[in-house]
Symmetry: C2
Subunit: 316 residues, 2 copies
Amino acid sequence: MTKLIAEIKKRNSFLVTAHIDPDGDSIGSQLAMASLLREMGKRVLVVNEQRPPRKYRFLAHADEIVTRIPDGFTYETAVILDAASLKRLGRVSEYVQGKFIINIDHHPTNLRFGDINWVVPRASSTSELVFRLVRRIGVKLGGERASHLYTGVLTDTGGFKFPNTTPDALRMASVLVKEGADPSYIATQVYLSKSIDELFLLSRLLATVEVHGGVATMQLTRGMMKDTKLNTEGFSDHVLQLRGIGMGVLFKELDGKVKVSLRSRGEIDVSELAKIFGGGGHESAAACLVAGRLSEVKRKVLTQAKKLYGRDYLGE
Amino acid sequence: MTKLIAEIKKRNSFLVTAHIDPDGDSIGSQLAMASLLREMGKRVLVVNEQRPPRKYRFLAHADEIVTRIPDGFTYETAVILDAASLKRLGRVSEYVQGKFIINIDHHPTNLRFGDINWVVPRASSTSELVFRLVRRIGVKLGGERASHLYTGVLTDTGGFKFPNTTPDALRMASVLVKEGADPSYIATQVYLSKSIDELFLLSRLLATVEVHGGVATMQLTRGMMKDTKLNTEGFSDHVLQLRGIGMGVLFKELDGKVKVSLRSRGEIDVSELAKIFGGGGHESAAACLVAGRLSEVKRKVLTQAKKLYGRDYLGE
């Protein structure tokens, strides 16, 4: 961290970015990092391929995240957060070419593509790393940054329910709340802001649950998804509410393809299954896109799952 | 706390009890307290009106909680946990008559019915108080007690989502995880152990959601609840997933009566509304039992809610 801090101190202008399909940790760590750099007197621009999802827009300065670089903004350094590879930046990867790259991440699969790589797989979240950086540099946390970082650790630990809910993650959460993060307000924004139509869709989704051995499945057909603006983020976690299963799958019908979201409780590595179908992800959350009709894709995925993990292992 | 510890030290036999309709905090704090007393060389019996719900039976020694006193067990002291009044003990209140009563609780409405009363309304949970007691007495926490107390603070803060998620609650959680509580395993037991029929019932429940100004309602009719063994604990929280509402109500049809479960996000005090109908509870979670048909009870409760809080306050 000493070398990282030395590099930050001697540089003046920064692009701060993170992975596509932004989540609470990538947005939270970005906003806190940008705010830290500004407090250190740096020029900063926060760029992502996409704007933050609605539920994260309550965060201070979330509206300053842009999707392209405005004319005239020059920068020497790119800080890339929460991204295992440059490919994960989408279109933004072009912006970081030829720049000095600082890579801060907690994914074990990180490719160490930076000029400086600070990759800590045992950290709960990238926000936990930015938290440590703020403390080490000695800048006051403050309520805004505390809220950014709390949102990151809250969402990346699945609301303190995933196995990465470490003593360090919880102690950091305690400090952040003391510094002004409001846990109840943040949880409300992130988890409790569904529209009534989203709730009805969830109701219909839960009616499709099936159990196949240790695998539970759910499906969203195009008929159910008439209003495509409905937010289905987090829906794939619902099937894990069932006892006695090892893995949950959400099949979402798209145009000629099916998006397959895989979840496990940490005992099996669902990213292996995703890889077979050309996808990827984490041990406990992965996804792939499979061509074909829903019923067909479902059969293929279940067949592969049984081959890969075995019936016994899925706890029939 | 000094006087409390002195009393515990000089006494030999204890009945440990808590409120009816046991929850994670009452069971967790009871089991940890009993285990602490045993380690101090005391004779201990844990008694409740009801057995713990299935989802808490993973806790060590949960099967030792009895619902009546076995012949021959004598005791001089009753430790009453997480109960605001003796009435809240149900039938067990007879067992504590004439005994030396130690009252440990975090409900602001606690009636201080004990010979010693340790009531701390700003504590997140009764488990937080037992945690402090264990630390002060200087007994090692250990994995079992850590899991008991983690379950208590987890459930009483609504999975670290309610306003009582204080820095102290999170710091304690951090210590408990370090001492051996497994946050992911415990969350799975408590929140992710539904049967498929319970999931289907939840699906049907979500289909009944209505929004009336700032109040969201749901209902469980007797027709939906044909299998009365299904566990509906936690169902009342689901309506709070909706954005823009101030209060959620679950109406559950019973024999000639309706159980009304009230939830708020902390901005209004739903226990006031429960009191009008002869019920009670906390600011953010309260309940009452109202005679009459479901549609009738619903109209009455909504009318009173609007009178009490006003349309504006409920954030229409």
